[in-house]
Amino acid sequence: MTLDDVKLYLPIGRQTLSAIFSPPRDGGKDPRFITQRGGRYCKALDGVSVNIKSGDRVGLVGPNGAGKSSLLRVLAGIYAPTDGAIDLQGRVSTLFTPNIGMNDNASGVENIYISARTLGMSRAHIKSVTEDIIEFADLGDFINLPMRTYSAGMKMRLGFAIATAIEPDILLVDEVFGAGDAAFRERARARMSRLMSRAGIIVLATHSDGVIREFCNRILWLENGRVRFDGETAEGLKLFAAHNKKAPTKKAAE
């Protein structure tokens, strides 16, 4: 998977309208924004070049708004890059949000089928993984009850179990850890670990050092849509932590 000078400019309104109704607070000097062809854009990705090989487990780090989710969505084919080239071979799977396409009034078993079908799984594949999903979600008799009777944690467990019942070549993950009770978190970690060991390439956006240490062998640190560091995990985490210590937040500075 190769990205060559990939740019993603997200439109945020017409120049003339935004100038009248919401003029830039800093007089238009914020480097994350650009004005071109009569429109104002946010530079979500600004020239990202990276080569990810089979076997790479890439941890995407960076502050909020750095471009992590945008990069994942470009790789998934959800956003088309404004400029640059992407060469990507293989089956791509995304773990961006649980409960895709689920119906609150349908039972857990029906939702397994609806959600898995929406995610693009074949009937045969769903049939082969349904028992595994039910077992992993561990909802007991709730699995046959409408989903509106589930707690938020139970819904998340079912969504997570469905989304991870796949065998992709390239797995893109956006912050799926940390939900559910402690026991489920441990099992989720084990399941992710198993899934990741099967996938050729993993790109995982997270704010957790622990997750990166456990799952990743490479770090991609993004800032303002650009690659700030690309390399070995331990070194990347060290530099990132040092940077975070040095750069206090605005609030702290005040």
Partner: protein, 266 residues
């Protein structure tokens, strides 16, 4: 899962191809969407034909005496006309919110717009299929045609599917850009209901003029004529085929042009 070999320009065509290739899941999910709407109700999907039957019954009782029966019974005329119009009207009104209602899916999965749209088309067909008892009852009781003439009915589902697909794509994109569009389509649909020969007959004078220049008259005609023993006029074939396939070409262009930009508006 969805396989994407290359991104950028090709993904747009890829998207249409992938959506068509997954037509079976679109049909299944359309069915789940349909039954999902009535899941908590006691008589479920039967509400749909009951609503239609009530409407047709009331219209026939209220307006029958004021209008001449002509060659076919007025009840039969209204039942078939309203059945066909219901499909068109829902395509128009639901089209405007078609993509905004699926924002979560579009923003988080590499789903094809074609797949989402085929799912909606099949939803509308299931809805229509369950409403079918209304025109069938009218045909049986009010002297409709059930012979070989019915073969002329066969192209209608294909033409309606093309038309609905175009409406959903084109109106869905416009609706994502302009929030007011969904309110506008509801108003226009109501206006079109009264300017299309559904509860009145476009045989003479101003009515004929309105009927002749309204393309939806011909969409209704290709369903109504075979079921009432009449012949579909060449004008009707021409208008409906041109609108359906022309609409389809427009939809493919809109889908190709806006696939990458649509997401920023959701």
């Amino acid at each position: 899962m969805t396989s994407i070999d290359k991104l950028g320009g090709e993904v747009r065509i890829h998207s249409i191809y992938h959506g068509l290739a997954r037509y079976r899941s679109a049909v299944e999910l359309g069915w789940y969407d349909f039954v999902g709407r009535f899941r908590r109700s006691k008589i479920g999907v039967l509400w749909s034909p009951i609503q239609m039957g009530m409407f047709v019954g009331v219209i026939v009782l209220l307006l029958r005496k004021g209008l001449g029966d002509g060659e076919m019974s007025y009840a039969l005329y209204v039942a078939i006309g309203f059945y066909a119009w219901d499909f068109i009207s829902v395509s128009l009104t639901e089209g405007a919110t078609h993509f905004t209602a699926q924002a979560g899916l579009i923003k988080n999965t590499p789903v094809s717009l074609t797949h989402i749209t085929l799912r909606k088309v099949s939803f509308l067909f299931f809805r229509s299929l369950l409403n079918a008892p209304i025109p069938i009852i009218a045909i049986v009781f009010f002297g409709g045609e059930l012979g070989f003439n019915l073969l002329w009915l066969l192209p209608a589902p294909i033409l309606y599917a093309c038309f609905t697909y175009s409406c959903l794509i084109v109106f869905g994109v416009i609706g994502a850009y302009f929030v007011d569009f969904s309110h506008m389509t509801q108003t226009v649909a109501r206006f079109l209901f009264f300017t299309t020969p559904i509860i009145w007959q476009g045989d003479v004078g101003a009515r004929k003029l309105i009927s002749d220049y309204n393309p939806f008259s011909y969409f209704i005609e290709i369903v109504r004529a075979p079921l009432s023993g009449n012949v579909i006029s060449p004008t009707a074939w021409l208008v409906v085929i041109a609108a359906s396939f022309g609409g389809l070409l427009l939809a493919v262009w809109v889908q190709t042009a806006f696939r990458t930009r649509l997401i920023y508006r959701l």
